[in-house]
């Protein structure tokens, strides 16, 4: 054709008839759910507690509303589609179905906002640990800890069998329902690892909250394995026992030159309890980018293995429990226990037995999740206001 190429006019036919047809059939989030209040806020958006209006789908739900993806500040913003991480979370949650993974009921898309409707869990480990450490320390009963650990591992095993890394396991992301079933939540950072064309490191600024970050990541490892989730599970185990984070380090921030900083403080916290890693207990250690930096901090080399003393100091007295903890907190990711092997650990076989209800036999009754009513307008313009309360701040994803 010798016609001049013409540029599509702004009003070119796009999807108007289709859109009109679909919109006419659609039920909005507020037609389907009534909002009870909001639960938490984070960089991703907000989570609301909601009640279904549909009798066939009755019950209480947690609705996660993503913040809109926009580009450019001020008056002129360009809507740029759904973020990669929201896409990942949506597509993965849609595939996953397991009793120890927070179940996704549906996803609603309206007015440029994404609403993921999950089953509601009354508790989470952050809240349970807080309850046991305030105002005074009162240890979590061993049967509860054991059942929680077993159910976490069961959920992690399912993820790994399905080639998914969670990458952000921490107490705030481990929910527990009112009837004592563990639900691993927040797959916002989860990735499939079946076909990693690019190293999983690239493109992700945030990988695992620093207190739960595995040593191979702290040492600059890029091609990591599902073992990072087991390290985090070990940290959670320690925290359930001690009622405080095991390795409460401070994250070294990216400097202006955008070089990835050496996480000295976090590594120190780990080494103080576990001793220094050596090529003897971790043959691959020398190949990590930060290995030379690690050895240059000579004082770090002088810490002996101290986990046993730490375990006794926090009141731990079960040898098998200590053994499982040390297998989860194994420096070398290749030697670290896998989820299925951990579930077969003798600690789970001995009395007290693992229960389907983690609260079984426990005298503790945990308070219900706090609900805030100051901002109930779920469909209101994307709120960028951060939660200014403690619970909201605690759940905020660490940057």
């Amino acid at each position: 054709m010798n016609r001049q190429p013409m540029m599509a006019p702004a009003n070119i036919f796009t999807l108007a008839p289709y859109r009109a047809r679909k919109d006419a059939q659609k039920k909005t989030v507020l037609q389907k759910y009534s909002i009870v209040g909001y639960i938490a806020a984070g960089t991703y958006g907000r989570v609301y507690k909601a009640k279904s209006k549909d009798k066939l789908n009755a019950g209480i739900f947690a609705i996660k509303k993503f913040k809109n993806e926009k580009e450019g500040g001020g008056e002129i913003t360009h809507y740029t589609g759904i973020s990669q991480s929201a896409c990942r979370e949506m597509s993965l949650c849609r595939e996953l179905l397991h009793k120890n993974i927070t179940n996704l009921t549906e996803i609603l898309l309206e007015q440029k906002s994404i609403y993921m409707v999950f089953e509601f869990a009354e508790h989470d480990l952050l809240q349970i640990i807080h309850y046991h450490s305030h105002p005074e320390l009162k240890p979590i009963p061993e049967p509860t800890i054991k059942s929680i650990m077993w159910q976490i591992l069961n959920g992690v095993l399912y993820l790994h069998q399905n080639w998914v890394f969670h990458r952000d396991l921490k107490p705030a992301n481990i929910m527990v329902t009112a009837d004592g079933v563990v639900k691993i939540g927040d797959l916002g950072l989860a990735r499939r690892f079946n076909n990693p064309v690019q190293s999983l490191y690239t493109g992700d600024k945030v990988v695992v909250t620093i207190w739960y970050r595995a040593p191979e990541l702290l040492l600059g490892g890029r091609h990591y394995t599902p073992a990072i989730d087991l390290w985090a599970t070990g940290c959670i185990f320690g925290e359930l026992l001690a009622l405080r984070p095991m390795f409460k380090g401070e994250e070294a921030k990216m400097d202006t030159k955008k070089t990835v900083p050496f996480q000295k403080n976090q590594l120190t916290k780990i080494i103080e309890i576990l001793g220094a890693p050596t090529p003897k207990n971790w043959p691959n250690l020398v190949s990590y980018p930060e290995y030379t930096t690690l050895t240059s901090h000579t004082h770090l080399q002088n810490f002996p293995t101290n986990l046993k003393a730490w375990y006794h100091s926090i009141g731990g007295n079960n040898k098998k429990g200590l053994q499982l903890l040390s297998q989860l907190l194994e420096f070398d990711p290749a030697q670290r226990v896998t989820a299925d092997a951990a579930m077969l650990h003798l600690w789970f076989m001995e009395i007290p037995r693992v229960c389907d209800n983690v609260f079984e036999g426990s005298k503790y009754r945990y308070p219900n999740r706090r609900i805030y009513n100051d901002e109930n307008d779920i469909t209101g313009r994307a709120s960028t206001k951060r939660g200014n309360d403690d619970a909201g701040a605690a759940r905020k994803r660490q940057k």
Partner: protein, 341 residues
Amino acid sequence: MSADFWNSTQRSQWQFTRESLAQARKNVLAIEKKMGERGEISQVNIPYHTYMRIFLHQLILKLGRRIAVRQIAIATAEVYTTRFLTQASIKETNPYLLVTTCLYLACKIEECSQHIRTIVNEARNLWPEYVPHDATKVAEFEFYLIQELNSYMVLHHPYRSLLQINDVFKELAGIRNSDPHPEDASLVLSPNELQNCWSIINDSYITDLHILYPPHIISVASVFMTIVLQQSSPNQNSSDPANFSLGLDSTDGSLYFSSHSRTLHSAIPEVNPFTGRVEASTVLSEPSARITMFTRWLGATNVDLEEVIDAIQEMIVLYSMWEHYDESQIKRSLSVMLLGR
């Protein structure tokens, strides 16, 4: 789920039967009719037939190659397009925008995400008169696409099972080599053959196979066609695999090749290139040792042979129709629909 087709939503939510697919298509036609009567869509006749699907396939390929994305993202985009068009009429949307949006979403799901601006710019370079400058149109469409997919976006493709099948062949060859009486034939696919299978799989996205059957059925079909094609045309440079026939033995359900000397039980009919109609016919020479070996291997697996045969037939029909494909008519009707000229 993501590791396992059998527990995937691709199987539980997005796998049709021939009947349910025909029903879905009927519903779409009913929608189209109603919207046409109300004057909500163009009166131009734009059927969603094999030629249109070849056209859409080539649109996605062109855009995908332009932004140099992985084949897997292209494949995913093609399945999204096929799924979408089981629920909506092609006349309700701008097909150029549809394929752009499908590829944009597929890139994100397959972890090779492209900036929305990049994709829109490249689509505009290819189809300036059809793709609007405003990237928010793609962003808007993405929402509706995800909704139509019911947010089920993880896919399993035949490429992986193809490689797995070849691994099994290698293993078998290894065992045979240690055998004191090795057979001379090996099923291991040569690089050329693998490439051929790969191309057949690429082409299969034009068809409904990916919303009808598990991915391994399509990879087995591609291996079958490749081995037989090579056997049937050693001297001619034929790209038309339509001149062989195979069937299911009605007594023991095993797969066989028909030849002139044999009676056909349920042989695959051949397509008449002139009428596009499927006609019964007979075939070829006696199967080679390799084909015998392959059918024996296949018979020993749990692969559903009827599905494999159906997939092969679908591909044969596609290839024979492709010979008469002419995009100008489709382009013309889309131009009338979208630009009014």
